[in-house]
């Protein structure tokens, strides 16, 4: 099928029609170039969005209390909902295996002082699981552990910004930091990929703050991550279930929209995935439409070439060329032109992407890249396109009557 003679014939007609081959090849190269760039851009957007979400674990659910909007169970509307430690324990017991990490959280504004430096920061009281949920990175020292919780130790983990502002060049770990006139020992410094604002916070053991401030067992909010093996539907199902159980426990009307806020990242994440998938589909569509222009161009040049070679095709048929021999010749030529020009377009696009990718890192657009799937898809698309472009000219060529060769010109 791929004999030397076949190739020499293909090269011959390309050589004889250099400019036309170049121009039509260019349209295909351009089509693929745009297709690959579009796909890379979508990839960049996807990366950007994913990065935004990755600040926190992508399987996290945050539960905030609100105020009831409907009377229920003998209570009037407008009752403020308050979580406490028992609610947390209840979730832990009821949903074993459904959640991965769970932590209470309540935030207090504190005035911090070290030496002559003072500042106002948010102190969050949490348990050790919080590190996983917030994806806190410990640079130095350690995070809160179970021992701190059990013994209600006055220890604090501070953000990088806090450390820079209060301790300047000193190593904060092991130093004493005054929070609201009480002395805490700094056990660690953390940073956060997601944002710098997070690095203005500090973390203390939840039991310590509960004892020091009102000796309560109250919690502002609950954060947890669901079992990472859950798919989207299971995750949504779990969070619906959790909401239902909590509403029952806290005597809230099941239809009350204001009493509990469930913030499930799966939903937001799924929206983003749908959005980027949609973008991919649209960009493939646009790329294809541009490619069609190229295909029509190639079909056009082939029809022309065949018209020029009618007599030659007639002679070949008189000498014993079967219709399939002729079709093969035209189709291979078409596939050859499309594949080569498409490859060139693809290589150019990948070059552009590779050059741009490390530079671009905006919040919604980061590190665009071309994956193998794109490359394979484009290659298949090109070959199919080449076959389609050659189809009509090939059929036209196969229909040439050998009799025309006998007509003297």
């Amino acid at each position: 099928m791929f004999s030397r003679d076949l190739w020499s014939e293909i090269f011959h007609s390309i050589k004889n029609n250099k400019l036309r081959t170049f121009l039509t090849g260019f349209s295909v190269a351009w089509g693929i170039f745009i297709l690959v760039l579009l796909l890379a851009s979508v990839d960049g957007m996807k990366n950007g969005f994913t990065k935004q979400f990755n600040d926190d674990a992508t399987n996290s659910i945050f539960i905030y209390p609100g105020a009831t909007t409907k009377p229920y169970g003998g209570f009037e509307a407008g009752r403020r909902i308050q979580f406490d430690n028992e609610d947390l324990d209840y979730i832990k017991q009821s949903f074993k295996g459904y959640y991965e990490y769970i932590t209470p959280r309540f935030t207090k504004s504190v005035t911090a002082r070290y030496g002559n430096e003072t500042g106002t920061y948010s102190a969050r009281s949490v348990n050790p699981d919080h590190q996983k949920i917030e994806r806190t990175l410990i640079n130095n020292g350690r995070y809160i552990n179970e021992n701190d919780i059990k013994n209600t130790l006055k220890v604090v983990v501070i953000g990088k910004v806090v450390a820079d502002e209060l301790f300047k060049d000193e190593d904060p770990v092991g130093q004493n930091l005054i929070l609201n006139e009480l002395s805490y020992k700094v056990i660690g410094v953390f940073s956060d990929d997601g944002n710098e604002r997070e690095e203005r916070n500090m973390y203390v053991p939840v039991s310590t703050f509960q004892r020091l401030y009102g000796n309560t067992n109250q919690i502002d909010e609950i954060a947890l991550t669901y079992n990472p093996e859950f798919n989207f539907a299971e995750a949504i199902n779990f969070s619906d279930n959790l909401e239902e159980v909590l509403k029952r426990r806290l005597m809230i009307d099941p239809d009350d929209q204001g009493a509990l806020y469930m913030n499930n990242y799966a939903e937001g994440f799924s929206d983003v995935s749908n959005f980027t998938t949609m973008l991919s589909v649209i960009s493939i569509g646009i790329g294809m439409l541009i490619l069609i222009a190229g295909i029509v161009g190639i079909g056009n040049i082939l029809v022309f070439i065949i018209k020029e070679r009618t007599k030659e095709i007639g002679v070949r048929k008189a000498l014993g060329a079967k219709p399939f021999d002729v079709i093969k010749l035209v189709l291979l030529e078409s596939v050859f032109i499309t594949s080569i020009s498409g490859l060139i377009g693809m290589i150019f696009a990948m070059g552009v992407v590779a050059a741009i990718s490390p530079i671009v890192d905006a919040p919604a657009f980061s590190n665009p890249s071309v994956d193998t799937v794109t490359v394979i898809t484009s290659t298949i698309v090109l070959i199919v396109a080449g076959l389609l472009a050659g189809l009509i000219p090939a059929i036209k060529a196969a229909k040439v009557k050998p009799i025309v060769a006998l007509r003297a010109d």
């Binding site: 011959h12 060329a321 003297a408």
Partner: protein, 234 residues
């Protein structure tokens, strides 16, 4: 070798129909050199097209080496043409981007012969028509007579049963024409059956038999004393 019985052929152009061949009966034995003569419109080209399986017959019978030729598929016709027939055209019809030997090898290419053997056989045929030194030349580098000799070598390449020549000397001056006819006579001497369509008396007289066509019927079919072309070639 060739047997034709009551052959009819018409062409339809819109509502008009043109009856070109009106019942041709004609047979050619192996080793004959037949000239088909006639003015334009006599139907001689149509007859040759049908003989060459380039056109279908409407009515009648055509046997080529005992094989009935009727309603062939394109692929089958291509196969038979390749196996049974060698064509020589007035305008040579060489492929201009292929060298002499590649042109000669083309029928072998469609037989699926490998490239090495193709070249060997093509060179052998080119040498037999006296073009040994020209095997790598392109048609544009050859004279008219040389081109026609390449075409003859090409017609011989597939070892056909019958050679069909359509005005083989129509585009050549008389000296070159005689050289070409000399070659055709020599090939015929070796036993090959050859049909030559021509309207030139002197060319026809170099064949062994002349068939006169007029208005789609055979007017005359006579054996002649062959004039050897070599007498005209120095």
């Amino acid at each position: 070798m060739i047997e034709i019985k009551d052959l009819h052929k018409s062409y339809h152009m819109g509502s008009n129909s043109l009856h070109v061949l009106k019942g041709i009966n004609f047979s050619v034995k192996e080793g004959e050199l037949v000239a088909i003569m006639g003015s334009s419109g006599s139907g001689k080209s149509t007859l040759l097209n049908i003989l060459g399986m380039l056109d279908n017959l409407d009515e009648g019978e055509y046997l080529l080496d005992g094989v009935p030729i009727k309603n062939l598929s394109e692929t089958k016709a291509a196969n038979y043409r390749n196996k049974f027939l060698g064509f020589i055209f007035q305008s040579f019809n060489l492929i201009n981007y292929k060298s002499a030997w590649e042109n000669v090898a083309l029928p072998l290419y469609y037989q699926g012969v490998n490239r090495k053997e193709r070249k060997e056989r093509a060179v052998k045929h080119l040498e037999s028509v006296g073009l040994g030194p020209w095997i790598d030349h392109l048609p544009s580098e050859l004279s008219g007579g040389q081109k026609q000799r390449v075409a003859i070598a090409r017609a011989l390449a597939a070892e056909p049963k019958v050679m069909l020549a359509d005005e083989p000397t129509g585009a050549l001056d008389s000296k070159t024409s005689y050289e070409v006819m000399d070659l055709i006579q020599k090939i015929n001497d070796e036993g090959k059956t050859i049909l030559v369509v021509t309207h030139e008396e002197d060319i026809a007289n170099m064949c062994k038999r002349i068939v006169h066509l007029k208005d789609g019927v055979i007017m005359e079919d006579t054996l002649v004393n062959q004039v050897r072309a070599s007498a005209h070639v120095q």
